[in-house]
């Protein structure tokens, strides 16, 4: 993974001191809250329902054991001993105090971490496929480009006061595990007929009040040109994005208003000008230097035949269940990708205690895991586990409540913090996730239902990505009472689609039954081992609406 050199290190330390100065100016009254707010947001500090919340950047979701330990320490020392992993691969701490934040930044800087640009009207954390470097179908590790973009976008002088936030995601394969189609800029790494690697650039995806799937604006952008292309997109947005209404300020609104064709035209004009100047040409040497940080670890020469693994599956039902869903094929024989579930039934999706983080760091050392990843579905991933180590790993994870065998199943729910934590929320979301998980906790039933992604947001800002859930749930305020609308048929993968609202919402007591009815409709209508999403796409929403609202 990327290692800071003295330049990067000095940068984050200076940034921490700069923020310390900004806090001092706030506390002395030199800065009003209005003036301080965008500055603190650019260091990821929010004022939430109960307290200040700090969002720590985890670039493309990758962490070393050392960094994980530091996060555990920070959560203990400055917060309440836990953190929440988000749908943008970051970590949130819900109980920090303003005068201590600069100290947190200094602690983070020690392990090459920071909170820069995790909020504010600037380029946010660049997210990428959590199976990077391990997936069989990978064309190129998306984190190389992600790191290039991260550096380029850090304190960019022209683009730090955009009309609104800007989110970029990178996928390294045809399968989209980074949800690039619902990002302001989504980048897909592709190979042309000559075998050259280039980038397919989508612009204008996004969720929230007005969800959109991104449009292709760059068909095949060369490696050396990608920064120039991104700068072109950003400039068109900075100059022309709406600033009169925060609900109409994202680039997706601009693309929708002027049309993708005009957007391409403007971007190409800007791109041509930037290219001509040559300043943003990415030198091969720099690409290679960054790529070198992402060379895979030294894999042992193993085969996929692993008798101890097979024996363990036979002897342990629990292990066999876990392997079924949480273990994924690796490009190297004898290796596997393991999903560490943060979705124990009845607990808060995505939360992880300091004790768990420390224990995970120990496991990483024990099983020589150089990295752990955060996924946008609020789980963790150990990308390079030897198959022969899986059973021992699982046993340890199990004692830590990190081995729930539900990856991709109905209880692997994505949920924003909602009204329990968030100042923007209209309804609680975590409790709904918990109730649904409890209702469907029977593992046999979960397996019968198969892949079923439920995503819950506590308000229209859609941090829970409800628009792209197979079942999406949106919490609203209906005359002072929490109310939940159901959306159907969304997907955040390469077959991206936005969910359709089925009808009037349900109250807290009714929503779980409603979800059960939706799922029952699926089991009644499914054919030939169809996934839930496939049945929905085949039969449409009407049978589900009828089931929900007939009486």
């Amino acid at each position: 993974m990327y290692r800071y050199d003295e330049f990067d290190s000095r940068f984050v330390h200076e940034r921490a001191e700069q923020f310390r100065g900004q806090v001092a100016r706030r506390l002395s009254g030199e800065l009003s809250e209005d003036e301080f707010k965008p500055l603190r947001l650019m260091n990821g500090l929010y004022l939430q329902l109960h307290s200040y919340m700090l969002r720590i950047a985890i670039p493309y979701g990758t962490l070393s054991a050392r960094q994980l330990r530091k996060l555990a320490f920070i959560a203990r020392a400055y917060d309440r001993g836990y953190g929440h992993f988000t749908t943008r691969q970051n970590l949130q701490l819900h109980w920090v105090q303003l005068p201590k934040v600069a100290d947190v930044l200094v602690d983070l800087a020690e392990v090459e971490m920071h909170c820069m640009q995790t909020s504010g009207n600037c380029v946010r954390n660049v997210t990428a496929d959590h199976f990077a470097g391990a997936a069989k179908d990978e064309i190129e590790d998306p984190r190389i480009l992600s790191e290039v973009v991260r550096q380029w976008s850090t304190l960019h002088p022209e683009f730090s006061f955009l009309p609104r936030k800007f989110k970029i995601a990178v996928s390294g394969s045809d399968a989209d595990r980074a949800a690039i189609m619902i990002h302001d800029i989504g980048i897909q790494i592709v190979k042309n007929d000559e075998g050259e690697i280039g980038y397919r650039v989508f612009v204008g995806g996004g969720l929230g009040r007005t969800p959109f799937i991104g449009h292709e604006v760059g068909h095949f952008v060369g490696k050396c040109d990608i920064l120039a292309f991104l700068e072109a997109v950003m400039r068109v947005y900075n100059e022309s994005g709406r600033r009169d209404n925060i609900h109409k300020a994202r680039i997706k609104i601009l693309v929708h208003q002027i049309g993708p064709k005009e957007m391409r035209h403007r971007v190409e004009a800007e791109f041509a000008e930037i290219r001509q100047m040559g300043v943003l040409e990415l030198p091969e040497g720099e690409i290679a230097r960054i790529a070198a940080y992402f060379t895979p670890p030294d894999f042992e020469a193993l085969t996929d035949e692993c008798p101890e693994f097979e024996a363990a599956k036979r002897s342990s039902r629990g292990f066999a269940d876990w392997v079924k869903t949480n273990v994924h094929a690796h490009k190297m024989p004898g290796y596997a990708i393991a999903t560490v579930s943060l979705k124990p039934i009845g607990k808060t999706p995505g939360d992880c205690s300091s004790d768990q983080m420390d224990a995970l760091a120990d496991l990483m050392d024990e099983f020589t895991q150089p990295e752990i990843r955060v996924t946008h579905e609020q789980n963790l991933v150990l990308p390079h586990v030897r198959r022969k180590d899986l059973f021992a790993l699982w046993q340890s994870l199990d004692t830590l409540e990190l081995a729930t065998p539900n990856h991709g199943l109905v209880t692997d729910i994505i949920s924003c913090p909602g009204l329990d934590y968030c100042d923007l929320a209209n309804a609680r979301s975590i409790n709904i996730a918990q109730e649904i998980a409890k209702r469907f906790s029977d593992l046999e039933r979960q397996h019968d239902l198969g892949e079923l992604k439920i995503k819950i947001s506590g308000c229209i800002n859609a941090c829970g990505h409800h628009h792209v859930g197979h079942i999406g749930i949106l919490g609203v305020d209906k005359k002072g009472v929490e109310n939940y609308q159901i959306l159907l048929g969304g997907s955040g993968a390469e077959d991206a689609s936005l969910g359709e609202i089925l009808g009037p919402g349900f109250d807290k007591e009714g929503i779980v039954d409603a979800v059960e009815n939706v799922i029952a409709t699926y089991t009644d209508l499914r054919q030939d081992g169809e996934r839930f999403l496939d049945t929905v796409r085949r039969v449409g929403a009407i049978p589900f609406k009828e089931r929900l609202y007939a009486h």
């Binding site: 330049f7 000095r10 900004q22 850090t154 304190l155 022209e158 920064l227 900075n238 300043v279 030198p283």
Partner: protein, 170 residues
Amino acid sequence: MLIKRGRIVDDPFLALADGEPAPQSGAILVSLKRFGAEKDALLARGFPLAVRVAAGESPQSLSDDVHKLAAVVLLVGYFKDGRAFSWARLIRTRLGYKGEIRISGHFLKDQIAFFSRVGADAFDLSENISPEDVDLALKEISNVYQPSVDGRRTIPELRGRMNERRRLAS
């Protein structure tokens, strides 16, 4: 207080409202609209002319005329409006302007380093920003990651040179 290239200077321009007649002599500052409507007459005066671009306006329309101006003033209505950063870049780079680009209006000292990088070289400071603040603001973060109008060496470039020096030394 007006700071230009790190020094406190007097503002030579008399700012004129749109309908206000221009004096016989002396440097004046007019709106972009007025410049568009009365360009020839204003330039014919033979005295330094500055144009103010307000929020919501683009300096693109200045085009080649920009070279006849003694200064372009970018008026920021509210500090969150980041268009002025792109406008400064546009004026320096696309239009090739070599004169004064001044930032005026509501901006924070924390934005001065950014403005400076994209080509602004003068700042109309409000009373809570001092020249020392400007100095500090420009020094707070030693290095930059991305190229911009200022032509500063970026971290990737500095790395490249450092690594090359080390390679040669070993």
